[in-house]
């Protein structure tokens, strides 16, 4: 722990402190910029930071508050986001060499919504190339580093988001998740990350990976912070036809701490196939905390997860190949081989397979809800089955070994994107070598409120999410 109060504040706490006048936005923004400048390079977590613009916005907010104006629910809070969100007139590379100089002509809806709420945007954070690595692997900008141990993976593809929040360089960050890209860095870096229901949050102005799977969501220190961020970015958007018109609940109001009687399903089998003893211990301990809080833990079954994963793989590969075919023809040398290997299979599936994967989606999702969640309000799963791997383990060695390590990272996350369900990754302890372990809660469609309520209740009785990595204290 640290004596610096700015390191112990979460996003909501900071917003309230600024609103009360306990601290100025300029002071906290300078604090974050200094940390980004000093610690950020060791983690390789940022692409570009616009300090002057952030400080100007902070000073403007402080002046408005001094005049008696009410700031928004994120008034003056420094954030930074995955380099996948467009801002008109500013470069957005998507972690790629190919789009290094791409300058969009419009701004992502989610960025506009956060800024309307008063958030400050310090800049662009490192991500995996085209959002296609679950470990944080990036040959063009360098691999993002884990703040708990810089020789280990940060998780990806929202790698800079996870590392920056964990090292307390910013108070929250938006990421995207098409197969686990919010949940992986959250779990590996020891922070909280929420993948909403498909259609809950607009993707307008977000670089696509796979239209049928892509979701935008928050990464922050805790469930309460995620609740505030989700409430601000969620909801229908006329410019994104896939967003739902379902009303956005008051997620923070749902954080009562009361989970008595809530039925939490624990499906063994598939999700525990790769779980190591240290991860199993943390999972069991987290279930004990939830049980102590009054939740009812029930065992549940699973449908054919191999089929669900195959469907997810096909949609991702075909849609990514569709997006990337021009560059695969004209600039194949500008992709990392590991990234191209995930796209190229999509060139070969018959169109009928793709249509079948889409047409079967409702049936398979219904089956998952009926089999795995028939007797449960939500599911408790590993976030990642294995301890955080080293960067060497996921980049060197035989292709088979590397593929195995990468598959282990996505084992419990990727199928959820095909099903479209909401899921949250929650810090749940550490492995013997001091790297974070997380569990994952999966909810019914558009029931993010129950996930956040359960995660918040757990975090009232644990302090894993409050612990600071060594890099944050240097």
């Amino acid at each position: 722990m640290s004596g610096d109060p700015l390191l112990s504040l979460g996003l909501v706490e900071l917003a309230e402190a600024i609103a009360r006048g306990d601290i100025s936005s300029e002071r906290v923004t300078r604090h974050c910029l200094e940390r980004m400048d000093r610690i950020g390079p060791r983690l390789n977590c940022s692409v570009a930071i616009d300090a002057e613009a952030a400080l100007e916005a902070a000073r403007d907010g402080d002046l408005r508050r001094a005049r008696g104006e009410r700031l928004g629910p994120l008034g003056g809070v420094p954030m930074a986001h995955k380099d996948i969100f467009y801002r008109a007139g500013r470069a957005c590379a998507g972690g790629s060499k190919i789009r290094r100089d791409f300058v969009p002509d419009h701004t992502a809806t989610v960025l506009s919504r956060l800024e309307s709420a008063g958030a400050l945007n310090l800049g662009r954070l490192v991500m995996s190339e085209f959002a296609l690595s679950p470990t944080g692997y990036n040959e063009h900008y360098g691999h993002c580093r884990n703040p708990w141990h810089i020789d280990h993976c940060s998780g990806g593809s929202s790698s800079g988001s996870g590392a920056s929040v964990a090292a307390r360089l910013v108070y929250g960050s938006l990421g995207t998740d098409s197969g686990g890209s919010i949940r992986h860095p959250a779990a590996m870096c020891g922070v909280t990350g929420l993948k909403p229901t498909y259609g809950r949050v607009s993707r307008t102005g977000v670089m696509p990976l796979a239209w049928s799977l892509d979701c935008v969501g928050p990464i922050a220190q805790n469930a309460r912070d995620c609740a505030r961020l989700l409430a601000l970015v969620a909801g229908s958007d006329a410019s994104d036809g896939h967003t739902s018109a379902i009303a956005v609940p008051d997620y923070e109001a749902a954080l009562s701490g009361d989970i008595r009687g809530l039925r939490i399903g624990v499906p063994r089998g598939y999700y525990y196939e790769l779980v190591t003893p240290e991860v199993k211990r943390a999972l069991d301990e987290s279930l004990a905390v939830l049980r102590e809080r009054g939740a009812i833990i029930v065992s549940t079954e699973l449908p054919d997860m191999g089929l669900i994963n195959a469907m997810m793989h096909l949609l991702l590969a075909v849609e990514a190949a569709t997006l990337h075919r021009r560059w695969l023809i004209e600039r194949p040398q500008d992709y990392a081989d590991q990234v191209r290997a995930r796209i190229e299979p999509g060139l070969y599936y018959p169109a009928t397979r793709y249509a079948e994967a889409l047409a079967l989606r409702a049936r398979l999702t219904q089956e998952y809800l009926e089999v795995a969640m028939a007797d449960a309000d939500l599911l408790h799963l590993p976030a990642i089955s294995i301890p955080v791997p080293s960067i060497v383990a996921t980049t060197e060695g035989s292709p088979a070994d590397v593929a195995q390590a990468i598959n282990a990272v996505t084992h419990c996350t990727r199928g959820i994107n095909y099903l479209g369900l909401p899921a949250i990754s929650v810090p749940a302890g550490f492995s013997p070598d001091g790297l974070p372990i997380g569990f994952q809660l999966v909810g019914r469609p558009f029931d993010e409120a129950t996930l956040l309520r359960t995660a918040d209740a757990y975090q009232r009785d644990t302090d894993w999410h409050r612990r600071l990595p060594p890099t944050a204290l240097q």
């Binding site: 259609g199 060139l347 079948e356 079967l360 989606r361």
Partner: protein, 65 residues
């Protein structure tokens, strides 16, 4: 599935020249996935199943038993 078939698909249908080792790598992934999904579709896909059913299901799933 043979990787020379993949070479023909890549060159003729997708306009991409691809070296043999990358064709083989893709074939090793696509062949079992294609087989699995094709079999599942034959067994389970209904004539009236529609991709739009998915959004409708998310908006209105069956309640917990």
């Amino acid at each position: 599935m043979k990787s020379d078939l993949f070479g023909e698909i890549a060159a003729e249908l997708q306009g991409i020249e691809m070296p043999a080792e990358r064709l083989a790598r893709a074939a090793a992934i696509v062949a079992p996935m294609n087989e699995k999904i094709a079999a599942a579709a034959l067994a389970r896909l209904g004539f009236d199943d529609n991709p739009a059913d998915f959004a409708a299901l998310l908006a209105c799933p069956a309640p917990r038993r």
